[in-house]
Amino acid sequence: MSLSLETSPSEIGEATPGRHRALGHLALVTLGPILAALVLSGLVLLALGVDPLAYYGYVAQRGLFSWLGLQQTLTRMAPLLCLAAALIVAFRAGIWNLGIDGQFLLGAMTAAALAPFLITALPAWMTLLVAAAGAALVGALWSLLPALLRAYQQVNEIITTLMMTFLGVSFANLLVKLVFLDPGTTVPQTRTLPVADRLPTLFGTTISGGLVLGLVAVVVVHLVMTRTAFGLKLRTVGENPLAARHAGLDVPLLTVAVFAISAALAGLAGGIEILGVHGNLRADWNPAYGLAVIPLVFLARFNGFAAILFVFFYSALMIGGESAARRIGVPHYFTLVLVANLLILLALAEYLDHRRRQRAG
């Protein structure tokens, strides 16, 4: 099944007068759904007896316009950017990797298990490197079964990756509680990596260095997918597997490769979150970032640079929303409603736009 939300490259790269119109049009089908989603979700708040303007105002103030909040927002971007990169690889290659939450959590678990142990023997930089690599590797391994099933038995990966997420969340909890438990605390959690040994922060702020890794991941993925022969191969497999086979591409192998890259990035996201922010993994911690990143990647039309922008705003929304949960008493579940509205309205906007263009001929 092809992903219908992609804007074809020819539309974006038209001659100058057309290019302006295309950009304006792109802004319309992007900003339109965002505004509509904010309004619709605001109505939900209104129905619950919360002033939507006050809520949005507080969220923006807390997540964007306060220095403390902005630093938290930029730190939160790091794992989200890696997850966005993971999804861009998969979606551009026509693979529905909906298992990134499980891959993320197992990556986090691996980093939390390795780092506090390695730091006793290795220098900090090597500890971070090995722990991050371990996180990526375990993430990739967790996608192996869905990858092989999809590549060689044509089993729908939507189902298998979702199943692996449920499995992975429980498995990570099990490992934290039984194997990597810190005997020194009463809360079930892994040993803790000392703050001094975590990923360095940027320029004397509290912003995690993971942000740089996240930005690099998205940009590299974007360039590989759009500018290299390897990326072209993957996109061909995604858009027309039959044509890819006729062109002599090893479709099953490329499919497994896509899963591995995508899941490794998701695992890395978990590793970065542990190595940069938490230092340990608590049992039953599952932020479920993955499902929320999906709409952002669609909104960005699989474009890495646009994804960075949307991830930034979404991070601000999350940080502001978490703060609003404590202050205004609106649980952060509201972010889910907003994201859902965004996803549905985006699909609707694409449809209306498509219809309008068809009628215009």
């Binding site: 089993v155 409603v337 859902a340 996803l343």
Partner: protein
């Protein structure tokens, strides 16, 4: 180990398997109809959760569980209606909309629950039971299978009923055609969109009922996100059943059994980590897919919107 073979253990295990299996059975049967008609209904998790929430709320407010089930059914159908309008009517991407609806219902029900009950979780009175005379006297299986809420019997009765519908009626043939060769159905003068629309609504009704059963009978309580992937298991059951309702039943019993093992083992005095037990049904799904994945046949036009005249 003798403790595992006592009557108390087996009864608790079977009773738990039925309680956990009935929502899966209803969801699987519902999803099967959508898939037959060519709609991959990823939103079923959201439909179940809406059914659980509304079913519980109405049962709690009115004190009438039957009314709660009606509300659950209607709630599931309401979400399905949205899905049908967007995916069947407008032909939007079924996966995108399905994920969107599930996320939306998760957020909305958790939000509403927070504003209504804050962090309290009120409990319903124990569910109504209708013992079947004679059969309930049987040792072990009697109290586990034949002393249940009427909806349990109804869910089991649906299996032969749907099998007959698919196999023997014109409606069944119409549904299959909508999934396999929609163009042929169109040529025969039957509107593909209408058939699919109704199939999706049926899925919503079944999923809503299954969710309401989870909240009102199996748990007696509503907790945000309580469906926990049951809808997705329903999708797998439908995929593996290859269009046959009886296989959905077998799958639902197996997965229900895996889910109920925790409580049953605790009855037997064994302490197995809950995380491990929670992995069982999903591990079972993966194992089955590895063994039989190649055979999990799905309709040819599944997931594709039907556009007249398009190739």
């Amino acid at each position: 180990m003798e403790a595992l073979l006592t009557g108390a253990f087996l009864t608790a295990f079977l009773a738990g398997a039925v309680a956990a299996g009935v929502p899966l059975l209803l969801a699987g049967l519902g999803e099967q109809m959508s898939e037959k008609a060519g709609v991959l209904n990823i939103g079923i998790e959201g439909m179940m959760l809406m059914g659980a929430y509304l079913g519980f709320l109405v049962a709690f407010a009115s004190g009438n569980v039957a009314l709660g089930f009606m509300a659950g059914l209607a709630g599931g159908m309401a979400v399905a209606l949205l899905m049908a309008i967007l995916c069947v009517g407008l032909g939007l991407n079924q996966i995108v909309i399905g994920i969107g609806l599930t996320l939306g219902v998760e957020g909305l029900t958790a939000l509403l629950h927070h504003f209504q009950f804050s962090t309290t979780y009120p409990r319903l009175a124990a569910a109504w039971r209708v013992p079947i005379p004679g059969l309930v006297e049987l040792p072990v299986i009697g109290p586990a299978l034949f002393d249940r809420h009427p909806l349990v019997y109804l869910a089991f009765l649906l299996v032969p009923l749907l099998a007959w519908l698919y196999r023997r009626t014109a409606l069944g043939l119409t549904l299959r055609a909508a999934g396999e060769k929609p163009a042929a159905l169109d040529v025969a003068g039957i509107d593909v969109a209408t058939v699919r629309f109704l199939a999706v609504l049926f899925t919503g009704a079944m999923a809503g009922l299954g969710g309401a059963f989870m909240a009102n009978v199996a748990a007696g309580i509503f907790i945000p996100f309580m469906t926990g992937g049951a809808g997705f298991i329903g999708i797998v059951l439908a995929m593996l059943a290859r269009g046959r309702p009886a296989w959905v039943l077998i799958g639902a019993v197996v997965f229900g059994g895996a889910l109920s093992l925790t409580t049953a083992l605790q009855v037997a005095g064994l302490n197995v980590p809950t995380d491990l037990i929670q992995m069982l049904p999903f591990a079972a799904v993966m194992a089955v897919l590895v063994l039989y994945g190649r055979k999990a046949r799905l309709p040819a036009a599944l997931g594709l919107a039907y556009v007249r005249g398009a190739r």
